[in-house]
Protein backbone atom coordinates (compact mmCIF):
# COMPACT_ATOMS: atom_id res chain seq x y z
CA UNK A 1 0.00 0.00 0.00
CA UNK A 2 2.73 2.32 0.95
CA UNK A 3 4.32 1.44 -2.35
CA UNK A 4 1.20 2.41 -4.23
CA UNK A 5 1.12 5.71 -2.40
CA UNK A 6 4.73 6.33 -3.20
CA UNK A 7 4.23 5.47 -6.82
CA UNK A 8 1.33 7.87 -6.95
CA UNK A 9 3.37 10.56 -5.29
CA UNK A 10 6.30 10.03 -7.58
CA UNK A 11 4.28 9.93 -10.76
CA UNK A 12 2.50 13.07 -9.66
CA UNK A 13 5.83 14.70 -9.03
CA UNK A 14 6.90 13.71 -12.50
CA UNK A 15 3.58 14.94 -13.81
CA UNK A 16 4.15 18.35 -12.32
CA UNK A 17 7.60 18.45 -13.83
CA UNK A 18 6.35 17.26 -17.18
CA UNK A 19 3.54 19.79 -17.15
CA UNK A 20 6.10 22.51 -16.70
CA UNK A 21 8.33 21.11 -19.36
CA UNK A 22 7.54 23.40 -22.21
CA UNK A 23 8.97 22.58 -25.56
CA UNK A 24 12.56 23.74 -25.07
CA UNK A 25 12.53 25.96 -28.14
CA UNK A 26 12.88 29.63 -27.18
CA UNK A 27 16.19 30.74 -25.73
CA UNK A 28 15.84 32.23 -22.29
CA UNK A 29 17.62 35.51 -21.91
CA UNK A 30 18.48 36.26 -18.30
CA UNK A 31 19.12 39.54 -16.58
CA UNK A 32 18.86 40.82 -13.03
CA UNK A 33 15.30 41.01 -11.70
CA UNK A 34 15.69 44.54 -10.41
CA UNK A 35 15.34 48.06 -11.70
CA UNK A 36 18.62 48.93 -13.43
CA UNK A 37 17.74 51.97 -15.48
CA UNK A 38 18.31 52.85 -18.23
CA UNK A 39 19.24 49.29 -19.22
CA UNK A 40 16.53 47.09 -17.75
CA UNK A 41 13.66 48.20 -15.55
CA UNK A 42 10.14 46.99 -14.96
CA UNK A 43 7.25 49.25 -15.87
CA UNK A 44 3.92 49.50 -14.10
CA UNK A 45 2.28 46.93 -16.35
CA UNK A 46 4.84 44.31 -15.43
CA UNK A 47 6.85 44.46 -18.66
CA UNK A 48 10.56 45.09 -18.86
CA UNK A 49 11.85 48.02 -20.78
CA UNK A 50 15.13 49.81 -21.36
CA UNK A 51 18.10 49.95 -23.68
CA UNK A 52 19.18 46.40 -23.07
CA UNK A 53 15.69 45.02 -23.65
CA UNK A 54 15.66 46.72 -27.05
CA UNK A 55 19.15 45.46 -27.73
CA UNK A 56 18.03 41.92 -26.90
CA UNK A 57 15.07 42.21 -29.28
CA UNK A 58 17.27 43.54 -32.05
CA UNK A 59 19.87 40.83 -31.57
CA UNK A 60 17.36 38.00 -31.49
CA UNK A 61 15.59 39.34 -34.56
CA UNK A 62 18.88 39.71 -36.40
CA UNK A 63 20.18 36.26 -35.44
CA UNK A 64 16.72 34.73 -36.10
CA UNK A 65 16.55 33.35 -32.58
CA UNK A 66 13.39 32.94 -30.61
CA UNK A 67 14.05 34.63 -27.30
CA UNK A 68 12.08 35.07 -24.12
CA UNK A 69 13.27 37.32 -21.35
CA UNK A 70 13.67 35.72 -17.95
CA UNK A 71 14.52 37.88 -14.97
CA UNK A 72 16.63 36.04 -12.36
CA UNK A 73 18.47 36.99 -9.19
CA UNK A 74 21.71 38.76 -10.03
CA UNK A 75 23.80 36.94 -7.44
CA UNK A 76 22.76 33.62 -8.93
CA UNK A 77 22.84 34.56 -12.59
CA UNK A 78 25.95 32.57 -13.50
CA UNK A 79 24.75 29.39 -11.75
CA UNK A 80 21.41 29.94 -13.49
CA UNK A 81 23.26 29.99 -16.82
CA UNK A 82 25.40 26.96 -16.11
CA UNK A 83 22.46 24.96 -14.75
CA UNK A 84 20.51 25.85 -17.90
CA UNK A 85 17.78 27.88 -16.23
CA UNK A 86 18.69 30.55 -18.73
CA UNK A 87 20.59 30.34 -22.00
CA UNK A 88 22.07 33.82 -22.36
CA UNK A 89 22.88 36.72 -20.10
CA UNK A 90 22.10 40.13 -21.54
CA UNK A 91 22.39 41.96 -18.26
CA UNK A 92 25.21 44.50 -18.35
CA UNK A 93 27.76 41.85 -17.49
CA UNK A 94 31.32 42.87 -18.19
CA UNK A 95 33.71 40.47 -19.85
CA UNK A 96 36.39 39.67 -17.26
CA UNK A 97 39.13 37.09 -16.89
CA UNK A 98 37.53 35.76 -13.75
CA UNK A 99 34.16 35.17 -15.39
CA UNK A 100 35.74 33.68 -18.50
CA UNK A 101 36.94 30.81 -16.33
CA UNK A 102 33.32 29.76 -15.83
CA UNK A 103 31.34 31.04 -18.79
CA UNK A 104 31.92 32.38 -22.27
CA UNK A 105 31.10 35.78 -23.74
CA UNK A 106 30.18 37.21 -27.11
CA UNK A 107 31.99 40.30 -28.33
CA UNK A 108 31.29 43.44 -26.34
CA UNK A 109 28.12 45.36 -27.07
CA UNK A 110 28.70 48.40 -24.92
CA UNK A 111 31.42 49.85 -22.77
CA UNK A 112 31.28 52.71 -20.35
CA UNK A 113 33.58 54.08 -17.69
CA UNK A 114 33.10 53.51 -13.98
CA UNK A 115 32.08 56.36 -11.72
CA UNK A 116 31.70 57.17 -8.05
CA UNK A 117 28.86 59.24 -6.63
CA UNK A 118 28.35 60.65 -3.17
CA UNK A 119 26.21 63.06 -1.15
CA UNK A 120 26.15 66.66 -2.37
CA UNK A 121 27.13 67.91 1.06
CA UNK A 122 30.56 66.29 0.85
CA UNK A 123 33.45 66.77 -1.50
CA UNK A 124 35.95 64.06 -2.20
CA UNK A 125 37.76 62.53 -5.12
CA UNK A 126 37.12 59.08 -6.56
CA UNK A 127 40.61 58.02 -5.52
CA UNK A 128 41.89 55.69 -2.79
CA UNK A 129 42.96 58.77 -0.78
CA UNK A 130 39.64 60.52 -1.25
CA UNK A 131 37.63 57.55 -0.13
CA UNK A 132 39.77 56.66 2.88
CA UNK A 133 37.62 56.00 5.95
CA UNK A 134 34.41 56.16 3.96
CA UNK A 135 31.77 53.49 3.46
CA UNK A 136 31.34 52.73 -0.19
CA UNK A 137 28.48 50.68 -1.61
CA UNK A 138 28.74 48.34 -4.59
CA UNK A 139 26.62 45.61 -6.10
CA UNK A 140 27.85 42.08 -5.36
CA UNK A 141 29.68 40.05 -7.95
CA UNK A 142 30.26 43.00 -10.20
CA UNK A 143 33.50 44.39 -11.52
CA UNK A 144 32.88 47.35 -9.21
CA UNK A 145 32.92 45.14 -6.17
CA UNK A 146 36.27 43.67 -7.18
CA UNK A 147 37.67 47.08 -8.04
CA UNK A 148 36.41 48.79 -4.89
CA UNK A 149 37.72 46.01 -2.65
CA UNK A 150 41.15 46.20 -4.25
CA UNK A 151 41.64 49.93 -4.59
CA UNK A 152 39.49 51.38 -1.81
CA UNK A 153 38.90 48.52 0.61
CA UNK A 154 42.60 47.88 1.03
CA UNK A 155 43.23 51.57 1.57
CA UNK A 156 41.04 52.21 4.57
CA UNK A 157 37.54 52.34 3.08
CA UNK A 158 34.71 49.99 4.06
CA UNK A 159 33.15 48.26 1.09
CA UNK A 160 29.52 47.29 1.61
CA UNK A 161 27.97 44.84 -0.82
CA UNK A 162 24.38 44.96 -2.01
CA UNK A 163 22.31 42.38 -3.86
CA UNK A 164 21.07 45.00 -6.29
CA UNK A 165 22.34 48.34 -7.55
CA UNK A 166 19.02 49.89 -6.66
CA UNK A 167 19.48 49.04 -2.98
CA UNK A 168 22.93 50.60 -2.92
CA UNK A 169 21.57 53.79 -4.48
CA UNK A 170 18.75 53.84 -1.99
CA UNK A 171 21.09 53.44 0.94
CA UNK A 172 23.23 56.29 -0.35
CA UNK A 173 20.14 58.48 -0.47
CA UNK A 174 19.19 57.27 3.00
CA UNK A 175 22.54 58.41 4.31
CA UNK A 176 23.80 54.95 5.14
CA UNK A 177 26.63 55.14 2.61
CA UNK A 178 29.20 57.79 1.83
CA UNK A 179 29.68 56.77 -1.78
CA UNK A 180 28.54 54.33 -4.45
CA UNK A 181 30.70 52.99 -7.22
CA UNK A 182 29.03 51.68 -10.36
CA UNK A 183 28.68 51.99 -14.09
CA UNK A 184 28.60 55.67 -14.98
CA UNK A 185 25.46 55.41 -17.12
CA UNK A 186 23.47 53.63 -14.44
CA UNK A 187 24.69 56.19 -11.94
CA UNK A 188 23.74 58.97 -14.34
CA UNK A 189 20.20 57.62 -14.53
CA UNK A 190 20.04 57.58 -10.75
CA UNK A 191 21.35 61.14 -10.48
CA UNK A 192 18.65 62.25 -12.89
CA UNK A 193 15.88 60.62 -10.82
CA UNK A 194 14.02 62.63 -8.18
CA UNK A 195 15.75 60.79 -5.40
CA UNK A 196 19.23 61.18 -6.88
CA UNK A 197 18.79 64.81 -7.87
CA UNK A 198 18.05 65.74 -4.31
CA UNK A 199 20.86 63.96 -2.54
CA UNK A 200 23.88 63.22 -4.63
CA UNK A 201 26.27 64.15 -7.39
CA UNK A 202 29.10 62.61 -9.37
CA UNK A 203 32.45 62.66 -7.61
CA UNK A 204 34.44 61.46 -10.59
CA UNK A 205 35.52 58.49 -12.65
CA UNK A 206 37.85 55.90 -11.20
CA UNK A 207 41.26 55.19 -12.67
CA UNK A 208 40.95 52.41 -15.21
CA UNK A 209 42.24 48.95 -14.51
CA UNK A 210 41.42 46.83 -17.58
CA UNK A 211 42.31 43.61 -15.77
CA UNK A 212 39.43 44.18 -13.36
CA UNK A 213 37.06 46.50 -15.16
CA UNK A 214 37.21 44.37 -18.27
CA UNK A 215 36.82 45.21 -21.90
CA UNK A 216 33.15 46.06 -22.04
CA UNK A 217 29.88 44.25 -21.64
CA UNK A 218 29.18 41.05 -23.57
CA UNK A 219 26.43 38.48 -23.87
CA UNK A 220 27.15 35.68 -21.42
CA UNK A 221 26.73 32.15 -22.75
CA UNK A 222 27.70 28.68 -21.61
CA UNK A 223 31.10 27.36 -22.57
CA UNK A 224 31.23 25.28 -25.67
CA UNK A 225 28.28 26.87 -27.42
CA UNK A 226 30.39 28.21 -30.23
CA UNK A 227 27.62 28.11 -32.78
CA UNK A 228 25.46 30.43 -30.70
CA UNK A 229 28.48 32.63 -30.01
CA UNK A 230 29.22 32.99 -33.71
CA UNK A 231 25.58 33.85 -34.40
CA UNK A 232 25.52 36.47 -31.67
CA UNK A 233 28.80 38.04 -32.77
CA UNK A 234 27.55 38.25 -36.33
CA UNK A 235 24.29 39.79 -35.13
CA UNK A 236 26.07 42.41 -33.03
CA UNK A 237 28.19 43.34 -36.03
CA UNK A 238 25.13 43.47 -38.28
CA UNK A 239 23.02 45.74 -36.09
CA UNK A 240 26.04 48.00 -35.61
CA UNK A 241 26.48 48.19 -39.37
CA UNK A 242 22.84 48.59 -40.43
CA UNK A 243 22.05 51.36 -37.99
CA UNK A 244 19.58 49.50 -35.78
CA UNK A 245 21.94 49.83 -32.84
CA UNK A 246 22.21 53.59 -33.22
CA UNK A 247 18.46 53.99 -33.75
CA UNK A 248 17.44 52.56 -30.41
CA UNK A 249 20.50 53.91 -28.61
CA UNK A 250 19.51 57.46 -29.55
CA UNK A 251 16.35 57.05 -27.54
CA UNK A 252 18.41 56.62 -24.39
CA UNK A 253 21.81 58.26 -24.86
CA UNK A 254 23.24 61.34 -26.48
CA UNK A 255 26.62 59.68 -26.96
CA UNK A 256 27.91 56.40 -28.41
CA UNK A 257 27.36 53.82 -25.73
CA UNK A 258 29.41 51.28 -27.66
CA UNK A 259 32.62 52.98 -26.58
CA UNK A 260 35.87 52.84 -28.48
Amino acid sequence: MKKTLKTIAFSLALGIVAAGAVAAEPLKVGFAAEPYPPFTSPDASGNWEGWEVEFEKAICAEAKLECVITPVAWDGIIPALTSKKIDMIIGSMSITEERLKTIDFSDKYYNTPTGVIGPKSETFEATPEGLKGKTIGVQVSTIHQVYASKYFGENGATVKEYQTQDEANNDLAAGRLDAVQADSIALGAFLKSDQGKECCDLKGMVKDDPAILGAGVGIGIRKGEDELKAKLNAAIKAIRANGTYDTFSKKYFDFDVYGQ
Binding site: M1, K2, T4, L5, L12, A13, V17, A21, S83, N170
Partner: protein, 242 residues
Amino acid sequence: MADPISFLNWSLLALEPPGWGGVLLRGLMNSIEIAIGGYTFGLLLGIGGACGKLYGGPITRDLMECYTTIVRAVPELVLILLLYYAGTDALNYVLGLVGIGQVDISGLVAGIFVIGVVQGAYTTEVLRGAIKAVPAGQIEAARAYGMSPYKVMTRVTLPAMLPYAIPGLSNLWLIATKDTALLAVVGFSELTLVTRQAAGSTKAYLLFFCAAGVLYLMLTLVSDLIIRIIERRARRGFVEQS
Protein backbone atom coordinates in the same frame (compact mmCIF):
# COMPACT_ATOMS: atom_id res chain seq x y z
CA MET B 1 12.12 60.40 -2.55
CA ALA B 2 10.12 58.48 -0.02
CA ASP B 3 8.97 61.55 1.82
CA PRO B 4 5.58 61.62 3.52
CA ILE B 5 4.00 63.02 0.39
CA SER B 6 4.97 60.13 -1.84
CA PHE B 7 4.08 57.75 0.95
CA LEU B 8 0.55 58.99 0.62
CA ASN B 9 0.63 58.87 -3.14
CA TRP B 10 -2.08 56.26 -3.40
CA SER B 11 -2.33 56.60 -7.16
CA LEU B 12 0.81 54.46 -7.35
CA LEU B 13 -1.36 51.56 -6.27
CA ALA B 14 -3.90 52.01 -9.06
CA LEU B 15 -4.68 48.79 -10.87
CA GLU B 16 -3.98 50.21 -14.32
CA PRO B 17 -0.58 51.57 -15.33
CA PRO B 18 0.95 53.94 -14.32
CA GLY B 19 -0.24 52.45 -11.04
CA TRP B 20 1.51 49.30 -9.88
CA GLY B 21 -1.53 47.61 -8.30
CA GLY B 22 -1.99 45.22 -11.19
CA VAL B 23 1.62 44.09 -10.95
CA LEU B 24 1.24 43.46 -7.24
CA LEU B 25 -1.94 41.47 -7.74
CA ARG B 26 -0.29 39.36 -10.41
CA GLY B 27 2.58 38.75 -7.99
CA LEU B 28 0.03 37.70 -5.38
CA MET B 29 -1.53 35.29 -7.86
CA ASN B 30 1.90 33.82 -8.54
CA SER B 31 2.50 33.44 -4.83
CA ILE B 32 -0.84 31.71 -4.31
CA GLU B 33 -0.23 29.45 -7.29
CA ILE B 34 3.12 28.34 -5.89
CA ALA B 35 1.72 27.98 -2.41
CA ILE B 36 -1.11 25.75 -3.64
CA GLY B 37 1.18 23.71 -5.85
CA GLY B 38 3.89 23.39 -3.23
CA TYR B 39 1.39 22.57 -0.51
CA THR B 40 -0.26 19.85 -2.58
CA PHE B 41 3.08 18.38 -3.60
CA GLY B 42 4.16 18.57 0.03
CA LEU B 43 0.96 16.85 1.15
CA LEU B 44 1.64 13.93 -1.19
CA LEU B 45 5.24 13.70 -0.05
CA GLY B 46 4.01 13.96 3.52
CA ILE B 47 1.48 11.13 3.19
CA GLY B 48 4.19 8.96 1.67
CA GLY B 49 6.68 10.08 4.28
CA ALA B 50 4.39 9.51 7.24
CA CYS B 51 3.41 6.05 6.01
CA GLY B 52 7.07 5.28 5.36
CA LYS B 53 8.00 6.42 8.82
CA LEU B 54 5.25 4.46 10.55
CA TYR B 55 4.86 1.33 8.47
CA GLY B 56 8.00 1.19 6.32
CA GLY B 57 10.90 -1.16 6.73
CA PRO B 58 13.90 -0.09 8.78
CA ILE B 59 15.73 1.41 5.81
CA THR B 60 12.75 3.43 4.57
CA ARG B 61 12.22 4.63 8.09
CA ASP B 62 15.82 5.79 8.46
CA LEU B 63 15.83 7.51 5.10
CA MET B 64 12.63 9.35 5.97
CA GLU B 65 14.14 10.31 9.29
CA CYS B 66 17.15 11.79 7.49
CA TYR B 67 14.89 13.74 5.14
CA THR B 68 12.78 15.28 7.89
CA THR B 69 15.78 15.90 10.13
CA ILE B 70 17.67 17.77 7.46
CA VAL B 71 14.73 19.91 6.43
CA ARG B 72 13.90 20.71 10.04
CA ALA B 73 17.47 21.65 10.91
CA VAL B 74 18.47 23.77 7.91
CA PRO B 75 16.99 27.22 7.19
CA GLU B 76 14.38 27.31 4.45
CA LEU B 77 16.38 29.97 2.64
CA VAL B 78 19.39 27.66 2.35
CA LEU B 79 17.22 24.72 1.30
CA ILE B 80 15.53 26.84 -1.32
CA LEU B 81 18.86 27.90 -2.80
CA LEU B 82 20.18 24.34 -2.73
CA LEU B 83 17.06 22.85 -4.24
CA TYR B 84 16.62 25.63 -6.75
CA TYR B 85 20.08 25.27 -8.22
CA ALA B 86 21.15 21.74 -7.34
CA GLY B 87 17.75 20.07 -7.02
CA THR B 88 16.50 20.87 -10.48
CA ASP B 89 19.93 20.06 -11.87
CA ALA B 90 19.86 16.68 -10.20
CA LEU B 91 16.32 16.04 -11.36
CA ASN B 92 17.34 16.72 -14.93
CA TYR B 93 20.33 14.48 -14.52
CA VAL B 94 18.20 11.63 -13.19
CA LEU B 95 15.62 12.13 -15.94
CA GLY B 96 18.47 12.05 -18.41
CA LEU B 97 19.65 8.73 -16.99
CA VAL B 98 16.15 7.27 -17.12
CA GLY B 99 16.01 8.33 -20.73
CA ILE B 100 13.27 10.92 -20.62
CA GLY B 101 15.87 13.47 -21.53
CA GLN B 102 16.30 17.01 -20.44
CA VAL B 103 13.22 18.86 -19.41
CA ASP B 104 13.04 22.56 -19.30
CA ILE B 105 12.10 23.37 -15.74
CA SER B 106 10.21 26.60 -15.60
CA GLY B 107 10.53 28.95 -12.67
CA LEU B 108 7.03 28.09 -11.52
CA VAL B 109 7.72 24.36 -11.44
CA ALA B 110 11.05 24.88 -9.70
CA GLY B 111 9.30 27.04 -7.12
CA ILE B 112 6.59 24.45 -6.53
CA PHE B 113 9.18 21.70 -6.29
CA VAL B 114 11.28 23.64 -3.80
CA ILE B 115 8.38 24.67 -1.54
CA GLY B 116 6.92 21.18 -1.87
CA VAL B 117 10.06 19.40 -0.70
CA VAL B 118 10.30 21.66 2.35
CA GLN B 119 6.59 21.33 3.09
CA GLY B 120 6.78 17.58 2.57
CA ALA B 121 9.04 17.15 5.57
CA TYR B 122 6.82 19.29 7.78
CA THR B 123 3.69 17.49 6.58
CA THR B 124 5.35 14.13 7.27
CA GLU B 125 5.80 15.10 10.89
CA VAL B 126 2.29 16.50 11.27
CA LEU B 127 0.66 13.45 9.70
CA ARG B 128 2.82 11.04 11.64
CA GLY B 129 1.69 12.67 14.86
CA ALA B 130 -1.93 12.60 13.72
CA ILE B 131 -1.86 8.96 12.67
CA LYS B 132 -0.32 8.03 15.99
CA ALA B 133 -3.14 9.87 17.72
CA VAL B 134 -5.74 7.57 16.17
CA PRO B 135 -6.74 5.08 18.89
CA ALA B 136 -4.99 1.80 18.13
CA GLY B 137 -8.19 -0.12 18.84
CA GLN B 138 -9.92 1.37 15.80
CA ILE B 139 -7.16 0.22 13.47
CA GLU B 140 -6.97 -3.17 15.17
CA ALA B 141 -10.71 -3.59 14.81
CA ALA B 142 -10.51 -2.84 11.11
CA ARG B 143 -7.73 -5.37 10.74
CA ALA B 144 -9.69 -7.91 12.68
CA TYR B 145 -12.50 -7.55 10.16
CA GLY B 146 -10.04 -8.70 7.54
CA MET B 147 -9.58 -5.37 5.77
CA SER B 148 -6.54 -5.17 3.55
CA PRO B 149 -3.86 -2.71 4.72
CA TYR B 150 -4.82 -0.39 1.87
CA LYS B 151 -8.43 -0.45 2.89
CA VAL B 152 -7.54 0.13 6.53
CA MET B 153 -5.61 3.18 5.40
CA THR B 154 -8.28 4.72 3.21
CA ARG B 155 -11.31 3.73 5.25
CA VAL B 156 -10.09 4.04 8.81
CA THR B 157 -6.67 5.57 9.43
CA LEU B 158 -6.87 8.54 7.07
CA PRO B 159 -10.42 9.62 7.90
CA ALA B 160 -9.88 9.08 11.61
CA MET B 161 -6.63 11.03 11.75
CA LEU B 162 -7.98 14.03 9.83
CA PRO B 163 -9.36 15.89 12.84
CA TYR B 164 -5.98 15.54 14.54
CA ALA B 165 -4.10 16.59 11.44
CA ILE B 166 -6.17 19.57 10.36
CA PRO B 167 -4.86 22.13 12.87
CA GLY B 168 -1.27 21.30 11.95
CA LEU B 169 -2.00 21.10 8.24
CA SER B 170 -3.76 24.44 8.24
CA ASN B 171 -0.80 26.03 9.99
CA LEU B 172 1.43 24.53 7.33
CA TRP B 173 -0.72 26.12 4.65
CA LEU B 174 -0.18 29.52 6.24
CA ILE B 175 3.53 28.80 6.41
CA ALA B 176 3.55 27.76 2.75
CA THR B 177 2.02 31.08 1.73
CA LYS B 178 4.70 32.97 3.66
CA ASP B 179 7.55 30.74 2.51
CA THR B 180 6.84 31.69 -1.09
CA ALA B 181 8.32 35.08 -0.20
CA LEU B 182 11.72 33.41 0.08
CA LEU B 183 11.65 32.68 -3.65
CA ALA B 184 12.29 36.40 -4.09
CA VAL B 185 15.90 35.60 -3.27
CA VAL B 186 16.23 33.39 -6.35
CA GLY B 187 14.54 36.01 -8.53
CA PHE B 188 11.11 34.45 -8.91
CA SER B 189 8.46 37.12 -9.55
CA GLU B 190 6.20 36.47 -6.63
CA LEU B 191 4.62 39.15 -4.50
CA THR B 192 7.65 40.11 -2.42
CA LEU B 193 9.98 40.49 -5.39
CA VAL B 194 7.55 42.46 -7.55
CA THR B 195 6.94 44.66 -4.52
CA ARG B 196 10.64 45.35 -4.24
CA GLN B 197 10.83 46.09 -7.96
CA ALA B 198 7.86 48.44 -7.76
CA ALA B 199 9.31 50.10 -4.68
CA GLY B 200 12.72 50.45 -6.31
CA SER B 201 11.28 51.93 -9.48
CA THR B 202 9.07 54.45 -7.73
CA LYS B 203 11.14 54.95 -4.54
CA ALA B 204 7.94 54.68 -2.51
CA TYR B 205 9.34 51.88 -0.38
CA LEU B 206 7.10 52.26 2.62
CA LEU B 207 3.91 52.43 0.60
CA PHE B 208 4.61 49.30 -1.44
CA PHE B 209 5.91 47.18 1.39
CA CYS B 210 2.88 48.11 3.47
CA ALA B 211 0.58 47.31 0.55
CA ALA B 212 2.18 43.91 0.10
CA GLY B 213 1.89 43.33 3.83
CA VAL B 214 -1.84 44.02 3.62
CA LEU B 215 -2.16 41.56 0.72
CA TYR B 216 -0.33 38.83 2.65
CA LEU B 217 -2.40 39.56 5.72
CA MET B 218 -5.61 39.32 3.74
CA LEU B 219 -4.49 36.00 2.31
CA THR B 220 -3.84 34.77 5.84
CA LEU B 221 -7.12 36.03 7.22
CA VAL B 222 -9.18 34.59 4.38
CA SER B 223 -7.35 31.29 4.73
CA ASP B 224 -8.05 31.40 8.45
CA LEU B 225 -11.74 31.82 7.80
CA ILE B 226 -11.86 28.87 5.41
CA ILE B 227 -9.78 26.76 7.78
CA ARG B 228 -12.26 27.42 10.59
CA ILE B 229 -15.12 26.20 8.46
CA ILE B 230 -13.21 23.07 7.47
CA GLU B 231 -12.18 22.49 11.06
CA ARG B 232 -15.75 22.73 12.28
CA ARG B 233 -16.87 20.21 9.69
CA ALA B 234 -14.03 17.83 10.46
CA ARG B 235 -14.62 17.95 14.18
CA ARG B 236 -18.27 17.05 13.91
CA GLY B 237 -19.16 14.47 16.49
CA PHE B 238 -15.92 14.98 18.38
CA VAL B 239 -15.96 15.53 22.09
CA GLU B 240 -14.37 18.89 22.83
CA GLN B 241 -11.17 17.97 24.66
CA SER B 242 -9.24 20.36 26.78
